[in-house]
């Protein structure tokens, strides 16, 4: 690897990390603002103009709060829980193509940290590890509410992972690759996958809501039944990590949705603009972020509209509705693909 490559990679990694933290930070502000607007209120508007500095104030509050570790808790695991939650949340951004390539001094730099050829499986693996953060934290608190919350979280996440994986398989069948970048490259201009996979998108989106523990699937932390769920015993920045991880997850899953179904950094009439390669790339990155912010807004919109499921309903939806629909989606996709590629006429 050349020095220029290495420098670009280092800067890019730091940029992705910083941006995901920044977006998560302002997602907390956006969440409060959006919630307020949906409820005919104004939301935070004291810290700075329009309350823009509210996340900083929240951060300072989180850091200054007293750190409480329950006496009968498993101390090491109690600290490990939020760490894992934060770690897995930050890890997913690695395989997401944040833009096309930049050409600097005749050299091409791809705006992606690493293009693993099993990118989707990587995302999937990291998401499946994310359960441990919640599970360990809930168990280590030595509190019944926490334990119940973490059990709910893990069973929910395992259940919805299946339907999520199944809905991704249809996409993988269509594009013939597991690399996220190639999937994005496979939907140039306005030929987004959502046009061919509307059912798959719906399933994936519902599962993404469940995986990020957002309403209507926020049973792990539903305050009416479980106080705070798995983070009942947490305080200070450890609680902050849990909350922060949720927002990073929201950001990343929006990015994944955009990559898989909404063409990533592609946008219609991309060629007819007649701009240079670099400008188009940067414009694409901007468009990518606009799409991501739209989905973050949709996440919040849904949160403040739909009440949460009962637990048996949640399991029924996951296993009896989403999973069969995902299988159906795979079968339909397979049939259409075979028909399009004229493979029925082949003799096996």
């Amino acid at each position: 690897m050349e020095v220029a490559d290495l420098i670009f990679k280092v800067i890019f990694v730091l940029a992705v990390f910083g941006i995901s933290l920044l977006v998560a930070m302002y997602s907390t502000y956006a969440e409060r603002k959006v919630a307020a607007f949906f409820q005919d209120r104004l939301g935070p508007n004291r810290a700075g103009p329009f309350g823009i500095l509210q996340p900083l104030a929240d951060g300072v509050k989180m850091f200054m709060k007293e750190e409480i570790i329950p006496t009968n808790s498993d101390k090491a695991l109690f600290i490990l829980g939020p760490s894992i939650a934060m770690l897995t949340a930050c890890m997913t951004g690695v395989v997401i193509p944040w833009g096309n390539s930049l050409i600097i001094n005749g050299k091409e730099f791809v705006m992606q940290i690493t293009d693993v050829n099993i990118g989707i499986l990587y995302i999937f693996g990291v998401v499946s590890i994310g359960v441990y953060g919640i599970m360990i934290g809930g168990w280590a608190s030595n509190n019944k509410f926490s334990l119940l919350g973490s059990l709910r979280a893990s069973s929910q996440m395992i259940s919805y992972e299946l339907a999520m994986g199944m809905s991704i398989i249809a996409i993988v069948m269509m594009s013939g690759t597991l690399s996220v970048r190639e999937i994005v490259l496979g939907q140039p201009g306005g030929h987004w996958n959502v046009l061919y996979q509307p059912l798959g998108f719906l399933l994936f989106f519902i599962c993404a809501l469940a995986e990020t523990n957002r309403t209507p699937f926020d049973l792990p932390e539903c305050e009416t039944e479980l106080v705070g769920g798995y983070h009942t015993e947490y305080s200070s920045m450890k609680l902050g990590f849990y909350l922060f991880a949720e927002y990073i997850n929201m950001f990343i899953s929006s990015a994944v949705i955009v990559c898989l179904y909404f063409g990533g950094y592609n946008f219609p009439f991309i060629e007819s603009l007649g701009l240079s390669h670099n400008v188009v790339s940067l414009l694409g990155t901007g468009i990518f972020f606009i799409k991501i912010f739209f989905f973050i807004f949709v996440f919040m919109w849904i949160r403040w509209t739909i009440p949460r499921f009962r637990y048996d309903q949640l399991m029924r939806v996951g296993w009896k509705v989403l999973l069969p629909l995902a299988v159906l989606n795979i079968v339909i996709t397979a049939i259409v693909l075979l028909w399009k590629n004229d493979l029925f006429s082949l003799n096996f």
């Binding site: 695991l77 099993i118 990587y122 999937f124 693996g125 599970m135 973490s150 059990l151 992972e161």
Partner: protein, 164 residues
């Protein structure tokens, strides 16, 4: 570079495997086991078998171990509640384990170390080659194991149903 990685990973996997047995709390054992799976996935990546590594993590660390953790958390096993085993059982287990060790050493000594062949294809572990091998060369075993999984799924559904 990858040599050092191999040694670090090997040390970590052996250490965590030992800790699975040695740690007093069952939950810690499970977590060490998960960590052990991760280091093994690291070994797969060193062998350029990325697909295998990802599947290993998704299936073992992501799904099966969660269920393990589930059961152990619900049983609420603690170091204090663990029944005290009599000395004779401890002795017997030491003897059995030692015998297993002897057998293993004997097998490994007789087995010749296979040196990686010169025509080793580094793309062997990639998804494409793996898929081609599975669906061409090993089509029948693959389909048979798929049937096995199907029957297991049907069986699980039958057990799960209250009334048939």
């Amino acid at each position: 570079m990858s040599n050092y990685l191999f040694y670090i990973l090997s040390f970590l996997s052996i250490f965590s495997a030992l800790m699975v047995v040695l740690s007093r709390k069952p939950v810690h054992s499970v977590l060490y086991l998960i960590f052990c799976f991760f280091t093994i996935a690291g070994h797969y990546i060193l062998l350029n078998a990325q697909f295998l590594a990802a599947v290993h993590i998704i299936v073992y660390a992501g799904a099966i171990m969660v269920l393990f953790l589930f059961v152990i958390m619900l049983l609420n096993l603690n170091a204090e509640t663990e029944p005290h085993k009599p000395l004779i059982i401890k002795g017997a287990s030491v003897v059995t384990g030692g015998m297993l060790l002897v057998v293993l050493i004997a097998t490994f000594k007789s087995a010749a170390m296979s040196v990686s062949s010169p025509e080793f294809n580094s793309d062997l572990g990639m998804v494409e080659s793996l898929g081609k091998v599975l669906y061409d060369q090993y089509m029948l075993p693959f389909e048979v194991s798929a049937l096995l999984f199907l029957s297991a799924m049907v069986g699980a559904t039958m057990i799960g149903k209250k009334e048939i």
